[in-house]
């Protein structure tokens, strides 16, 4: 891939990026969230098209319009969220969408051929299971192997693995590495050895596995390290080595009393990891970490949405038992969730209906809504959070991302929250609205609310937090005071 560029509305995702991988080689692709790794691989997989640049396979320029083209050219992508169908068996998954047919007028499925070929592929990756095993019975690690078998059965010469170990245990991950090393060494067919692109945030794995590491930063090539030069520190340096934009210093002030104390919290996703944190009145606690490090799970557990396996919480010194969002909201613990359109707003309903949804009873008498007092409250709140909408009666779906987010935030204001948790509050939000949301976050803290700000954007964390907790694999790997925060110190803890 040479000089690949890709723009999305408002952002340059890739700016003239070069990337190559040879047969028999494992190349690691490394970078922060948003550095352009996924976009580059989506272009390689035929999901996106590059605006400019060229892709050559064994010297031949190729063009791809759809994922099927990539598959035809021998590119197999194993996504982080495995795309398997639970109700089918292994053979059915391996051959999904290209099932062999038998001769004859009915063109029935050729199960025998499917199973024979599946068995061959499974043998190649050392999996001793019948092709008829239902996917439902398989572990995550085994499902991943099925995805690899599927790619191999399509004669993939290049395998792209996106965060393959993010949901594997140490043992399964070790097995996967062995298999990958095996695959690049073997010559599968006459077509030549397999090449592998390995995307991961786990720098240790890359030290162990990669023949070469390509680092992307802000959509550009940041550097390439040969096998012997790959070290944890070198990678981090390349990943964050950039000038941090001048940032407005947060309102430096002494933190108020502890509002929310979280003690040994365990979440369903990381049942073995304990999280302890204290949120103070008037303070913005930034929570940094890479995607999947367990930040959202902690946020959801605090706010009663997710599963809390164990742990105690105290609110203003009183024990706090929260088992539903409603209980959390009653106690003044509110969440602006990451997935705005799914969880943050009811997109088909109006601005008015969304803003008053959590506190509707306070605008009602005998269960009937007093429209006048509802509208007064709405106009008050929409002015405070500066929602730009044609009217209060516009469906939230018609608003821009930034204005939707302001609605998702504004709906809590009438409740005077004691704890506000923001999960990626400015994702997909334009620059202007971003600044306004940041201002609102600070204003909430100034009014005495304890604020938790979860973000994958290190600049955002640095600019708007009074203290930063960094998470990795469900654990807090460090809590940094404002003076200790730098992109390097945060990234070191995030990739621990």
């Amino acid at each position: 891939m040479a000089a690949i560029s890709k723009r999305f509305p408002g952002v340059v995702a890739l700016d003239s990026v070069d990337f190559d991988v040879s047969a028999g080689e494992i190349v690691a692709l490394v970078g922060e969230n948003g550095a352009g790794k996924s976009t580059l691989m989506k272009i390689l997989a035929g999901i996106h098209r590059a605006d400019s640049g060229e892709i050559r396979i064994t010297g031949e320029p190729v063009t791809m319009h759809a994922p099927a083209d990539a598959a035809r050219l021998g590119i197999g992508v194993i996504h982080q969220e495995l795309e398997v169908i639970e109700t089918l068996d292994i053979a059915g998954n391996v051959f999904l969408g290209r099932e062999p047919r038998r001769a004859g007028p009915l063109r029935l499925l050729d199960r025998r051929r499917m199973e024979a070929d599946t068995e061959r592929q499974l043998a190649r990756i050392g999996m001793r299971l019948s092709p008829r095993t239902s996917l439902r019975l398989l572990s995550t690690a085994e499902r991943q192997l099925v995805s690899i078998a599927r790619a191999l059965s399509m004669n993939a010469r290049l395998l792209v693995l996106d965060e393959p170990t993010s949901s594997l245990g140490a043992k399964d991950a070790e097995k996967l590495f062995e298999l990958l090393r095996e695959l690049v060494r073997l010559k599968p067919d006459t077509m030549g050895a397999t090449a592998i692109v390995y995307i991961s945030h786990r720098l240790k794995e890359i030290e162990m596995l990669a023949d070469r590491a390509v680092v992307l930063r802000d959509g550009r090539n940041a550097g390439t390290l040969p096998r012997e030069a790959i070290t944890h520190d070198r990678l981090v340096e390349l990943m964050v080595g950039r000038a941090i934009a001048a940032t407005a210093p947060p309102g430096a002030q002494a933190a108020g009393p502890a509002v929310l104390q979280i003690d040994k919290l365990r979440t369903g996703r990381y049942p073995d990891a304990e999280v302890s944190l204290t949120l103070h009145a008037g303070e913005v606690l930034g929570v940094a970490g890479l995607t999947g490090s367990g930040r959202s799970e902690v946020a959801e557990a605090i706010c009663g949405v997710g599963t809390r396996m164990a742990g105690r919480m105290m609110l203003n010194g009183q024990p706090l038992a929260i088992n539903s969002p409603n209980e959390a909201i009653q106690r003044g613990v509110c969440l602006v969730p990451e997935d705005r359109r799914r969880h943050g707003v009811v997109a088909a309903m109006t601005v008015r209906e969304n803003v008053t949804l959590p506190a509707l009873a306070s605008y009602a008498r005998f269960g009937l809504i007093d429209r006048a007092s509802e509208e007064t409250a709405v106009s008050h709140i929409t002015r405070e959070v500066t929602v730009k909408a044609a009217s209060m009666e516009s469906p939230v779906a018609t608003l821009s991302g930034g204005n939707q987010q302001k609605v998702a935030l504004g709906k809590w204001l009438a409740l005077r929250p004691r704890v506000m948790v923001f999960d990626e509050p400015t994702q997909g939000v334009d620059v202007g609205a971003k600044a306004e949301i940041h201002r609102l976050i600070r204003r909430l803290a100034d009014a005495g609310t304890a604020v938790m700000l979860i973000s994958s954007d290190i600049d955002e964390i640095l600019a708007h937090s009074d203290r930063v907790a960094v998470m990795h694999d469900g654990r807090i790997t460090g809590i940094l005071a404002r003076a200790e925060c730098s992109p390097e110190s945060i990234m070191q803890l995030a990739v621990a």
């Binding site: 009653q330 009937l368 809504i369």
Partner: protein
């Protein structure tokens, strides 16, 4: 009135005009009273089913509930000689209880509404036939509960009693659905249950409540229908009523995806269906074509809504309607 409600109203007026021209008998007092009585009777349970549809669910059990409670009502009054007031209260409590069971199975055990209420449809029908030993029940001379019978066959200033009751229930339902906190939660749950949950809405309570309302209103209509037909044959009494209700709700603007619909729309949808049946009757169309006419008209309406709506609102929203 919303665009959709105006559409249904125009369709209803147009249909009435057509029928009135084709058969002057349509506008006779007796015929209007007759149609009004049916609109009232069917409207009551259709409102309940419509509310369930707004949650994104479905209630297929109302026809069988009508049969089971009709049989029980007859037995309470005629065979067990219960006081009329007690029997009425018992029947309505039973309807609410069955609705509550549906609601709990759907919200607590996370069963699909279609399955739960389909099993209800089969179960209550079987129970009705078994209890009645498959024989038709009635109310005999009806001494001691004349006022109950008046709910079905009486009238107020010429307006049939079931229509009056339906109007009262519709006004209450309108307040509940369109003006109350519960109603706002109902639509929020129907549109996006997860976001409603994140906003602190007791989503299980709202959904279960909708089924309780549906069961209760089915019980109210069961009383009226039992006295209206005056003979309850357990195998056929109330057959297809759930489908009349679903059709009325959908014609009246409810979306089976949830989150959309109105009480006024449901009532007008019911009226539309009953006028259609009346049309079949008055124009001497073979009554065997009853369902076929209804199906054809609803289908034409749905196609018109999709095609015309497509032009007015653009492709993106049109796929969401009906």
């Amino acid at each position: 009135m919303t665009r959709k409600e105006i559409g249904v109203l125009l369709l209803l007026v147009a249909l009435c005009a057509v029928v009135a021209v084709a058969s002057p008998q349509f506008l006779s007092v007796t015929n209007l009273q007759n149609v009004g009585r049916l609109v009232g009777t069917y409207g009551i349970f259709s409102i309940g089913v419509g509310i369930v549809i707004i949650t994104g669910g479905i209630d297929l059990s109302v026809g069988s509930i009508c049969a089971l409670l009709g049989i029980l009502l007859s037995m309470m009054l005629v065979e067990w000689h219960w006081p009329a007031g007690v029997a009425l209260a018992a029947v309505i409590a039973l309807g609410a209880g069955l609705g509550a069971i549906h609601g709990l199975l759907i919200t607590r055990l996370k069963l699909q509404p279609f399955i739960v209420t389909l099993c209800g449809l089969l179960l209550y029908r079987g129970a009705a036939r078994y209890i009645a030993r498959d024989s038709t029940k009635g109310f005999g001379t009806g001494e001691g509960f004349e006022w109950l019978r008046a709910l079905a066959s009486g009238s107020v200033a010429g307006v049939p009693m079931p229509f009056v009751i339906m109007c009262v229930i519709a006004v209450l339902a309108w307040l509940l659905v369109h003006r109350s906190v519960w109603g706002r939660h109902l639509f929020a749950v129907g549109h996006n249950e997860e976001a409603a949950h994140y906003s602190g809405v007791n989503t299980r309570g709202v959904v279960a409540g909708a089924y309780v309302i549906s069961g209760t209103l089915a019980a109210v209509s069961a009383v009226i229908i039992a006295f209206y037909t005056n003979s309850i044959s357990p195998a056929s009494h109330g057959n297809f009523y759930e489908l009349y209700a679903i059709a009325a709700a959908v014609v009246g603007g409810c979306s089976l995806r949830g989150g959309e619909g109105s009480v006024l729309g449901i009532v007008m949808g019911t009226a539309l269906l009953q006028v259609l049946r009346n049309l079949v009757n008055l124009l001497d169309i073979p009554s065997s074509l009853d369902f076929a006419v209804m199906g054809a008209v609803i289908l034409i309406g749905a196609i018109a809504d999709q095609v015309l709506g497509h032009r007015v609102r653009g492709p993106k929203q049109a796929t969401k309607s009906l």
